[in-house]
């Protein structure tokens, strides 16, 4: 009997070390390590730039979180972000008022993600595939019909106040961080306290039983993608205003993988229903600390990539050892 008790205590102990806590511990460890070895790492300006560097990734990660919680995935986030914002900027440059240009861009982002959502919820195309195809389509459509000329659309001079979104600061804190924090707060409140937010968890946990329980599954699924599209537009605005341009080629980069990395690293389960805003923040912080430290140490970009991925691998290996998946309860087709 005593043995069994030990076993239970052991289990509780391993449960405590879930992926989020492992990653958080790792982040703290790295923070201490860098603080000791790298001069000026702990300087406020460096810490701010550290957080700022992952602000956009964090915002996109929140969009991804909303989708992943409902057992989906949105690979079209980066494409939606790039094309909708680039089109807004171009419209503004062509003489439209900034407000209406932004409104049209936002409508494009929401419209495209609405289509994605309908394809997934009503046409029942697997989300992985539907968003992959939509990413290709959105990019192609944008490049062919919306954004003419160059790959890069620069901030028009009449952008005015909006430029502050990327470059300004509130009480000394750079605006991207503030925006990310606001989005995180809204996402937290939405997921935690609203009915649709709880429904998303229910769907992610078990779609069939959610449906039987009376959750309007299909509309909620569509809403998830629309929310993600809206968040992507905000992330795009922050990117464009801080870099003073929107480079549509970002669609062809590894950025979408980085977004998934941020989400998954923090311990959000890709099979849905597991995770919250805190997980994304933890994931983004780890990436921020790592990249910042390695940049100070002047580590080559490709090696940074390798280290980033190895850490992700480590996190999921440790997670799978501590919380092993059982053959009897594993879900079929769960990739």
């Amino acid at each position: 009997m005593k043995r069994q008790g030990d076993g239970r205590r052991m289990r509780v102990w391993t449960r405590y070390f879930n992926q989020e806590r492992i990653v958080f511990a790792l982040t703290v460890l790295l923070l201490i390590l860098f603080a000791l070895t790298l001069p000026k790492f702990l300087a406020p300006s460096n810490l701010l730039s550290l957080v700022r560097s992952v602000a956009v990734l964090g915002i996109l990660g929140l969009g991804m979180l909303v989708v992943v919680l409902g057992r989906g995935i949105d690979l079209s986030l980066v494409a939606t972000m790039a094309i909708s914002v680039a089109w807004s900027l171009q419209l503004a440059a062509s003489g439209l008022s900034v407000a209406s240009a932004m409104g049209i861009g936002l409508l494009l982002a929401l419209g495209m993600s609405l289509v994605t959502g309908i394809l997934i919820a009503y046409a029942e195309i697997p989300s992985l595939f539907a968003t992959l195809a939509m990413a290709t389509f959105v990019y192609g459509f944008g490049r062919a019909h919306l954004i003419t000329g160059t790959d890069v659309v620069y901030l028009p001079p009449n952008i005015g106040m909006l430029a502050g979104l990327g470059q300004g600061a509130l009480f000394g804190i750079p605006m991207p961080i503030v925006v990310a924090a606001v989005v995180a707060l809204i996402a937290y409140l939405f997921l935690r306290y609203t009915k649709p937010g709880r429904f998303i968890y229910a769907i992610g946990d078990n779609l069939a039983s959610a449906r039987i329980g009376g959750v309007p599954v299909r509309p909620i699924l569509v809403a998830q993608y629309v929310i993600a599209g809206g968040i992507a537009f905000v992330a795009g605005l922050v990117t464009a205003t801080s870099a003073e341009a929107m480079n549509t080629r970002v669609v062809n980069s590894n950025m979408i993988y980085d977004v998934i990395l941020v989400v998954v690293l923090g311990g959000v389960g890709l099979s849905g229903g597991r995770g919250n805003v805190r997980n994304v923040i933890v994931g983004a912080l780890l990436i921020g600390v790592l990249m910042n430290g390695m940049t100070i140490m002047d580590v080559q970009y490709t090696i940074q990539n390798v280290i980033k991925s190895l850490i992700l691998l480590l996190a999921i290996v440790v997670d799978s050892i501590l919380n092993p998946r059982d053959e009897q309860t594993g879900q079929q087709g769960d990739i």
Binding site: L119, A123, E124, I125, P126, L128, F129, A130, L132, A133, M134, A135, T136, F137, V138, Y139, G140, F141, G142, R143, A144, H145, N252, N254, Y257, I260, L261, V264, L270, Q300, T302, I303, N305, V306, K308, S309, L310, L312, L313, I316, V317, S320, I321, P324, R325, E327, Q328, G330, Q332, G333, D334, I335
Partner: protein, 707 residues
């Protein structure tokens, strides 16, 4: 009116509706949608691009297809086991780089470098496989990580060696042959693809490892629970995937001899696209080499075609994305509704015009006139046997019958109250017959023809016949062997009632009333089985005529009995014996006075007779309402008739009260008694025959006095 009837008759005679259902039930019909997309894509780009079908263009495309097809197959293999491999693009780039490095910098011979590269890339696959298979990590994330890591490694290697590699140039005939040559205009990379595809197809569809992979993809838990080494197989799938990528990388290196940072960039997306477009299901269990290759061709033609048309930079991805969405949408819908569609269109009635039935009324008299002669039937084994379709007696007066539980039950004489399970077969035993040696031959629904020897060993005699030349479905397996009889030379003639329905669905065949059945002959001398007659309308009872020259068989839904000559001058010919029966004839057996007994298992009704002349009505019925509300033949009451070789019906036995033995599918005469069996009964009946020879037995009638 007459002309519309003729028209309907001709329409149902010459348009084979049932083929649609049979096509839909084929597994390869899954490829129909992707294949149609392929044809459309080729047609569209073929008409848009000048010289699309020119030899040079085809050769270039085929060479590219060699590489891309291999990568798609790599993706397909892991998709089949329920995974995904995002690292194919990076692995492909690694293969390309390693080939060039080993040849140009390492100076290795081609014969050594290629296997080495395949092994290196297989190593990457093995790593994926170990992490996903044995550590149970998520495939998507794990291969995402390997995608980034391998890509970074290639980039670092390029930084270091690209310069050295660009100066040196590898010179070898074999290498040029792989990269630029081919056999008779067919590029070598395409030939390699074909060889790999053929091997892959055989392995996947006809070998144990392939079946296991399909099983794991279909249901991982079940595969685990039946004891397959799921983890090992998953690991193997990723390893194979890695090796295929390596081979593709070799071919790419041979074609272009260059390594750049963009090699294989985004290839995982194209390969995934191709694999899913071809119809391989994400989530596993459904996939084939053919599907992967169809997808590969579609994607390759589209990406290259959009480039060649010269649209602006965005249009290519736009068209690709749209096509993808459309194709996957159709595919998803198809997969979801295929079974529904199949169950709707499978029942395909045809036009049957039955002659007016002979009268059974008491007033007009005649052989069919209703009577109550079965009112005095003695009941044997009430509640102890279920569904005794046929009964038979041996020379020692033991009574045998089959039961729905798959047993042959034997009742002991003289009072037939004690019984035992004579043998267990497993399927539902239908017709029975003894051969010369006293071995019991049984037609088993869903299983075929079986034999129980005197030592009670059950053995299969035959369960297949020759496949029809133009049949869509494989009709060589016996689905519903029904009744049999044995010729003096030992040949066994038996009926297969229908090739389109299983045992439990047999009344549905009445709705079709098409010639779905056949008479099959098994020859013990050669051990061969062949189909003697086909396109019969539910052939049921089979009985050897008293002279041993012909076989009588009943076609239930056609309400007739025919004769097939098996010996003598008319061998092979068929002639009608009985026609316009008032019910559906079942088993036929010999009577002691040289005539034959025939069971009528159910009576015709005017409503169904009318419906048989209205195939459209029956089809709508089968599509729109639930099966338990369909118009079925009345199988609740029947009778036994006796007829002679000339086709004259001599007498009939009825149970008007429908208490003792209303439903009869078989009867045997034995020593002055008639024993009755019925497929929906829970008893056997026996009735004394007044005018019968009290010493006559079937065994003696067939095989003479026992020595």
């Amino acid at each position: 009116m007459a002309s519309t009837h003729t028209f309907t008759k001709l329409r149902y005679r010459f348009i084979p509706d049932h083929v649609i259902g049979e096509l839909l039930s084929k597994k390869w019909i899954d490829n129909a949608i992707p294949f149609l997309v392929l044809l459309c894509v080729i047609a569209i780009f073929g008409s848009l691009i000048p010289n699309f079908f020119g030899g040079a263009n085809l050769a270039i495309s085929a060479r590219e297809l060699g590489e891309f097809g291999l990568v798609c197959m790599a993706m397909m293999v892991v998709i089949i086991v329920g995974g995904i491999d995002l690292s194919v693009g990076s692995n492909f780039a690694l293969g390309n780089f390693m080939t060039l490095a080993l040849l140009n910098l390492g100076g290795w011979p081609v014969g050594l470098a290629i296997p080495a590269v395949v092994l290196i890339c297989g190593g990457v696959g093995l790593l994926n496989g170990y992490l996903i298979g044995f550590l149970r990590l998520r495939a998507f994330l794990t291969t995402l990580v390997t995608l980034i890591i391998v890509r970074a490694i290639v980039d670092m290697l390029l930084l270091k060696y690209a310069q050295a590699m660009s100066v040196s140039f590898y010179q070898s005939d074999v290498w040029d042959m792989i990269g630029l040559g081919g056999v008779a205009e067919v590029p070598s990379s395409f030939i390699i693809l074909v060889i790999v595809a053929l091997i892959g197809h055989v392995l996947l569809t006809r070998s144990r490892p392939g079946w296991r992979m399909m099983a794991i993809g279909g249901s991982r838990r079940s595969a685990h629970n039946i004891g397959l080494s799921v983890r090992g197989m998953v690991c193997a799938a990723y390893t194979i995937s890695g090796m295929l990528c390596g081979l593709a990388g070799v071919l790419y290196a041979a074609r272009l001899s260059g390594a750049g940072t963009d090699t294989g960039m985004g290839l995982e997306i194209s390969a995934l696209t191709a694999a899913v477009l071809g119809g391989n299901s994400l989530g596993g269990g459904r996939g084939s080499v053919a599907k992967a290759l169809i997808g590969a061709v579609i994607v390759l033609v589209m990406t290259n075609g959009v480039l060649r048309i010269g649209l602006n930079s965005g249009s290519g991805p736009m068209v690709l994305g749209l096509t993808l969405l459309l194709a996957v949408f159709i595919d998803v819908r198809w997969l979801k509704n295929r079974d529904k569609l199949l169950s709707k269109v499978y029942v395909s009635p045809t036009y049957v015009e039955l002659p007016t039935p002979r009268s059974t009324s008491v007033e007009t008299g005649g052989a069919f006139a209703l009577n109550d002669r079965l009112g005095q039937v003695e009941i044997i084994g009430l509640g102890e046997v279920e569904s005794p379709e046929d009964v038979i007696l041996d020379d020692d007066d033991y009574l045998y019958c089959g039961t729905r539980h798959g047993d042959i039950v034997r009742f002991a004489p003289p009072d037939y109250t004690s019984w035992e399970v004579y043998a267990h077969i497993g399927g539902s035993p239908l017709g029975m017959a003894f051969d010369r040696a006293g071995d019991l031959h049984v037609c088993v629904g869903g299983m075929g023809l079986y034999k129980i020897d005197r030592a009670r060993n059950v053995g299969k005699v035959t369960d297949e016949t020759n496949r029809s030349a133009f049949s869509v479905v494989d009709d060589s397996r016996l689905r519903l062997a029904d009744d049999l009889d044995i010729a003096p030379d030992g040949r066994i003639y038996f009926s297969e009632a229908t090739i389109r329905y299983e045992m439990h669905d047999w009344p549905v065949d009445a709705l079709e009333s098409r010639g779905n059945g056949r008479i099959i002959c098994y020859d013990p001398k050669s051990g061969k089985t062949h189909t003697a007659l086909r396109n019969l309308i539910f052939p049921n009872g089979v009985c050897l005529a008293h002279d041993g020259q012909s076989v009588l068989f009943a076609e239930s839904w056609a309400c007739r009995v025919s004769r097939l000559w098996i010996a003598g001058p008319k061998a092979g010919q068929v002639e009608r014996v009985l026609d316009a029966l008032p019910g559906y004839p079942d088993n036929i057996n010999r009577a002691s006075d040289g005539s034959y007994w025939c069971a009528i298992m159910g009576m015709r009704s005017p409503a169904l007779d009318l419906a048989l002349r209205m195939p459209g009505f029956r089809r709508r019925m089968a599509r729109r309402i639930a099966p338990d509300q369909w118009l079925y033949p009345n199988l609740n009451i029947g009778c036994v008739i006796r007829f002679n070789d000339k086709g004259e019906v001599l007498e009939s036995l009825w149970d008007q009260g429908a208490k003792n033995h209303p439903m009869i599918t078989s009867m045997r005469e034995h020593r002055g008694y008639l024993y009755l069996g019925g497929i929906t009964n829970n008893r056997i009946g026996r009735i004394r025959l007044d005018k019968a020879d009290p010493n006559w037995s079937g065994m003696r009638s067939y095989w003479g006095q026992r020595a």
